[in-house]
Subunit: 351 residues, 2 copies
């Protein structure tokens, strides 16, 4: 007697790191960033539909492991993500991630995917989608402060989605800047290597900060920021980790993903709890104004939210069909008679 | 140029349903139930070490999807599990599950495993481990009320761990009883098919209730339960789902896993919030008494807790080594230079 092979319902498509990278090249990185940006924008537009829970964190001395669940009522998704700043020294990623989508109607998972590469793409696509709404008209030059793992993704997303032409790189570590400049060569952006944060900001209408400092740091001090810019603050994303001087915050119109989370993790943890902020989804659906004058400083205080991961997983689910860039995992038991799990187990022993 | 294959650190061992079933037969189901019971008992003994969070539930009209995380400070684990009572009608499992273990020190996952089969095993192993502590001396006969997917696992675990000799089956659906009796044939238990709940309880020192009723039901009414028995109540495990008459509860000494969760999900949701209960871990580590007299009714109001899943995943992690009963999943990105995720992605495109 042979065991029955698992039914389709018991198989969950899995996208490995290798297949995710192949999918990026299959679609093309800029079209994929634009596609992700469209999916994220669509989910921001229907923001009110979603179950929103702050991430569920398990803290230790070395770092944090988090689960970020959400649901739109039809599809449920969560991301597993860790943050261990010390990992870099050991040759490991500071952040690794994977995610899952499931059918709300029957609870069966429908996609398991790596999300280390995908999170890098969705973070950049979110930044660029927001900059499209908030940056001053004709913005084509960006200061990229912090040239780590996210910097090239940010630069390319701003090119693909906002028409960025020129990126001005700066990092306290010249090796990081050399790496970013080398990676960006030949991708259609003018790349300028700068020797100070101040120099990187010359002529820039968009300022992206994405440094790895764990402690309160001042990457942008008040006198560095002129009027009429859009600040895309990525690096301040956990309690005790901020990049902007309070003076910059006080001169800016501040836009956030989910205030409950941003007030704990974002730049605005430096401000009073009732400091006014605008939720980005209200700008996107037209309820609230975005930029109201050319001279204004707009600030996207980005910490990353579960809905963006959900959008990214939806994009992957919709784009792996017809490719061989996934494998089916036998993750779920599926006995012919749901009450006969034991019988299924016994029959497996007779093969 | 070829892409570097992922390093060991980026590969996560994955145990599929097929491999889990093969592992059960490789080890033997009774030795595996005993092993799981030992791991669970060990973790109950060091209960205070664990991060304990009630499960994080996403409810919908059709069911619930839950994440159950925990950590002992060195290892982090979570289980994904759904509960959709209507699934059975559609030929799907009511409950499917998978789980993960990760290294707290660096956040890297170390095991991904199916948990539909494994949860059935750990639930039975937990019941039997608790019965070993609470059932009257010499208990060798069990009434098994509710003959669904969990019933054979419960019966075998009680045999393997408590020396059960005889099981008395009853279910409102005779087909379920026929299935359970057939599955249990030849496994070393005297199996009696009974025609009523009352009949099933004749001579039984252990009474296990595990029915699928969603609503408040009375599987055990007060006059059915004599003195000197151990009740293993499995089926009352969510708000609105109970199996025992309040009178039975009031006559019993009640033992629970995690009171905060059991008061919401267990039989004791029918009692006042300050009704005294004993935490099972305190019995196991010797802090609190278990059964104190032969005539007492002990009741394990079991709802299933994250630590039991953690123990089960630890057992799997410790027992797949040296077998070919897992595969390595390329779930985590692992660039040579952690800051050079983009470079890794670019190089993948050149292969």
């Amino acid at each position: 007697m042979t065991a029955t092979p698992p039914s389709d319902k018991a198989l969950v498509p899995f996208v490995s790191v290798e297949n995710m990278m192949n999918l990026v090249h299959h679609i093309g990185i800029e079209p994929m960033l634009r596609g992700l940006s469209d999916y994220i924008e669509e989910d921001f537009r229907r923001w009110e539909l979603f179950d929103k829970t702050p991430r569920i964190a398990s803290h230790s001395a070395e770092g944090v492991i988090e689960l970020m669940p959400t649901s739109d009522g039809e599809v449920y998704g969560f991301k597993y993500v860790n943050g261990h700043p010390k990992n870099t020294k050991e040759g490991l990623q500071t952040v690794t991630a994977f995610g899952l989508l499931a059918n709300v109607g029957n609870g069966y998972p429908v996609l398991l995917s790596e999300m280390t590469v995908l999170t890098a793409l969705r973070t950049a696509a979110t930044s660029a989608m927001v900059a499209k709404h908030l940056a001053p008209k004709g913005a084509d030059t960006m200061a990229m402060i912090g040239n780590g793992a996210q910097s090239e993704f940010q630069s390319l997303a701003m090119k693909a989605i906002c028409g960025l032409k020129s990126v001005r790189l700066w990092d306290i570590d010249p090796a990081a800047t050399r790496k970013a400049a080398s990676n960006l060569k030949g991708l259609g952006l003018d790349v300028h290597v700068c020797s100070s944060a101040e120099e990187s900001m010359e002529g820039a209408q968009i300022i992206t900060t994405c440094t790895a400092d764990k402690q309160y740091a001042t990457i942008l001090s008040d006198n560095m920021v002129g009027s009429g810019v859009h600040i895309n603050a990525i690096g301040g994303d956990c309690p005790g980790k901020t990049e902007l001087a309070p003076g910059v915050l006080h001169r800016s119109e501040i836009f956030v993903e989910y205030p409950e989370q941003t007030r704990i993790e974002g730049e605005i943890q430096q401000l009073s709890e009732d400091h006014p902020v605008t939720q980005m989804w209200e700008v996107i659906n037209g309820t609230k104004p975005g930029r109201t004058s050319a001279g204004q400083i707009t600030l996207f205080d980005s910490v990353g939210f579960a809905i963006e991961d959900f959008s990214a997983l939806r994009y992957i689910r919709d784009h792996i069909g017809g490719t061989d860039l996934y494998m089916d995992l036998d993750l779920l038991a599926d006995p012919d008679d749901p009450r006969d799990l034991f019988g299924m187990l016994q029959r497996a022993g007779r093969t």
